[in-house]
């Protein structure tokens, strides 16, 4: 029997029309699984920010979402340019988004701070030239 389930997604590069597809799909599955609405909301917001970051700052990547009875783990992996200074990137308002991206309404530098705010754990593992792996966890209440 399965005590966890993993959902796997590919996030294509530079495709804004498809950005958000993965978080929508996760959202609808979590709803069917009876996860509490407020938790789904956190996961959806945090995951969407991460998904968009992969589209804008890296050239797409993969997402694995694992649900167990205790927690939801979201792993976003890309082979993009990496993040030079993670502390700086985490600061509210910091952004390297170019003008054309800002014109689309992104680049407020609020993505990573929101991902931290809406999850119980956020770990960023990044290497320049190699890529970035962001791991987020949201705990499920035991009842």
């Amino acid at each position: 029997m399965n005590d966890k389930i993993t959902m796997h997604y590919q996030v294509p590069a530079d495709d804004f029309t498809r950005a958000g597809e993965a978080s929508s799909s996760v959202k609808s599955k979590l709803k069917m699984m009876g996860v509490k609405p407020e938790i789904i909301r956190k996961v959806a917001i945090a995951m969407y920010e991460g998904e968009i970051n992969m589209v804008i700052h890296a050239s797409g990547g993969t997402i694995d979402v694992t649900v167990s009875q205790e927690e939801i783990t979201i792993v976003l992996k890309d082979q993009g340019p990496g993040i030079e200074d993670i502390d700086q990137a985490m600061r509210a308002g910091f952004s390297t988004a170019p003008d054309n991206i800002r014109a689309l309404g992104f680049g407020a530098g609020m993505g990573l701070p929101n991902m931290k705010k809406y999850t119980d754990e956020l770990i960023i593992d990044s290497e320049i030239g190699k890529g970035t792996t962001v791991t987020m966890k949201v705990k499920l209440p035991t009842d």
Binding site: M1, N2, D3, K4, I5, M7, G20, S23, S24, K27, K29, K31, M32, M33, G34, V35, P37, E38, I40, R41, A44, I45, Y48, V67, S68, Q69, L140
Partner: protein, 430 residues
Amino acid sequence: MSEFFTSVHLKEELCMGCINCIKRCPTQAIRVRNGKAVITKKFCIDCGECIRICPHHAKEATYDSLDIRNRFEYTIALPAPSLYGQFNNLDDVNIVLTALKKMGFDDVYEVSGAAELVSEMSRKYVEEHEEQWPIISTACPTVVRLIQVRFPNLIEHLLPICSPADLAASMARKKAMEKTGLSSDKIGILFISPCPAKVTAVKSPIGIHHSDIDGVIAIKEIYPVLLPYMKDSIDDVEELRISGRIGISWGGTGGEASGLLSESYLAADGIENVIRVLEDLEDNKFDRLEFIELNACSGGCVGGVLTVENPYAAKVKLKKLRKYLPVACSHLADGNAEDAFWNNEVQYQPVFNIGSNMKESIENMARVQQLTEKFPKLDCGSCGAPTCKALAEDIVRGVAKEEDCIHILREYIHKLSGELSRLDIKKDEM
């Protein structure tokens, strides 16, 4: 409310099992089983999409016939504003209202009049409840039902005010009781509706305990009966109108929102667009808005499946009709609409749940994934489910089996015939 009531249903003898509807249903509520469409009531939001798409007219809505009037001593017609958009060259709403009386209703009460009161109340409510922004309109019962079953995080944004039809019903009843001295049960409040969702909203209301509407008559039913009376009415028009531009605008998309006299709103129509807006709203993707107006039908209520005119043409007609009217004719100060707030909390109904606890849900979802992998991902519909994933969910829910997929069945038969021929060979060797 124990069982789920829905107005949209199948006329079995007309259904060809062609699977057009299963693909169109926004909540995947329909399956074709044994050659006939079946609606799972708890998933249905009465949007009417399946009525629109069915080439064989096998889907229809339940509503009351005009005979329902005979059940009451005194009847009042409540025309939805969308009714006014159905007629060519109509330049005065009073003609429609007079004709309704001529055809036998004892009185009329314009829903658009109550709509102006709802607009006034909403204006105040929106202004005073910034913490609830964006506030989502609740006049379209399909949208409210959709949010109740699929967008639990948005329930707190719902505008907790009765729909104009329900408010009109309470006010009309009060007025009639005062005027006639009859008891409430002798008075019939009959709403003339553009859509099946309103029938459901009366039978199983959301947000209020009870609707004052006694019956719902379809616009398309009353239309041919009303036309000749309208011709008759032209020469002695009674002044019955109680609404102006704001009230009549409610019949089309953007009407309710514009009645708030604020710029900070979004108005979306058409069920697929509504769902997109709700998804994005749930993910915080919008800048701060005060109000969101949502109508399940394209064009707004004029696009309801029980109307006759093309919704876009009807919208133009409404625009022409209201052009020379005052901004509003009904005002809160004139009467009492204090009962117009919701009195029954809306609870999330997780009808789509796949397990009764987390452990079971994980197991079941894993099984859905395994099955989906096994299916050819053609979403061909031959199994009667709209997608391969939907079939997988049905199997896990125990209402379908793997061999319902013709591709799996074929494989299975191949394997079986392979085994049989091997048996034959063995037999020959013996």
